[in-house]
Amino acid sequence: MTGPVVTVASLKGGSGKTTLACCLAVHWQLKGLRPLLVDADPQRSATRLAEREAALGGVALLEEADPGVWQAIKARRAGHGITIVDTPGFDSEITVAALAVADLVLIPVKASPLDVDRMMDTVKTLMSGVKGWAPTFRCVLTQTTPGSVIARHVRADLAESGFPLLAADMTNRVAYAEAALYGATPSLTAAEGPAAREIAAIADEAEALLSTKKALTA
């Protein structure tokens, strides 16, 4: 069984790439998909999280912050139901390599103009970095304040400009940082909590996209 590759990429630091990647990996681990989490970020954030007590619920982790990461992914993804790649938060060959093997690219973007600008640079890299071949991508609004005007405004603007967005947001919650103290994610610490439900919603959308894509290319 060789599953699809989901790359979480954004050229903006602090947009929530590692949090999103780890949360998705743990969610899919709890669902029994046997995910592989690839830490391609030289900051080693995901690896450091996995070194803590809860070890991300035992998710298989591959640390490979190297432009050859795509080969490592190809070699190791067999036997895993899905592969999630966390990328560096700056423009690098590693990011391009991780984008090139992706079946789906998730771009976390905060509801602020600076983040939106950088998200567009990410999309540009996505389109030009891999020689005109653009994998499926979706933006995910992260760290939003629920019900805020700016969140709704940015969502409406992005939709109007044609950028595909996931319906589910990843809202700003202390649960993520609290869970990270244990090396866990909200899905492990509070499985019924609102943060875990948000992650589940994002994961469901990603799964739906991947299965649609698989059906179209079969």
């Binding site: 389109m127 005007v149 405004h153 940015v154």
Partner: protein, 210 residues
Amino acid sequence: MTKRLPKTSTRTLDDLRDAASAALAEENRPKTRAPENPAADATAPTERTARDEKPDRLPEPVAPPKPAPTSLPAVAASVPAPSGLPTKAAFREACARLIIERHANFGAVAGLVPVPVVDLAAIAAIVERMLRKLSRLYGRPLDTDRSRRLATAMLTGMAAPGIASFTTNGLLKMTPGPHILGVALTSVSAVVLVRIVGEVYLEELQGEAA
């Protein structure tokens, strides 16, 4: 909305797409040597606009599909100059022709397989894949089972005039000496076969669409 906020960004996804395709075209330009390549470059933005404009154009009556051109140069002719947007039918036909060309080229490679039965199986698989792609383009997805039967039917139907050439080639391949002769023959006949099957099926699809 309680507050009036200015736009977050003036760039749209289409701007980024255009920039990326322009950069790609720029990159490809020095390398182009065949006359067909600039045409291919020129069609890329046109196709893109056609797709993007589609929602706006829907209320307008769609132009009737053109009669299927049979000769190869018609590919270029069926794509209008960048000034006028191609009709949906013309765009689809150009796409279909690209699919057929691509699979005919696959057929050339499959024909090179120097084992008598295996190369026929490979060609059948290519034809099947081509039929599925064409059907999807025309909004009639085929399931695998049906496409396989259709491919077999079309191949055997088509192969009737060409059957002699196939069997002699099979014999040529089994004899150890004149290998090269058999290889070249099947490669060429595979291209023709795949292309004819594609053309016939495309005509059928266009007839249904009209």
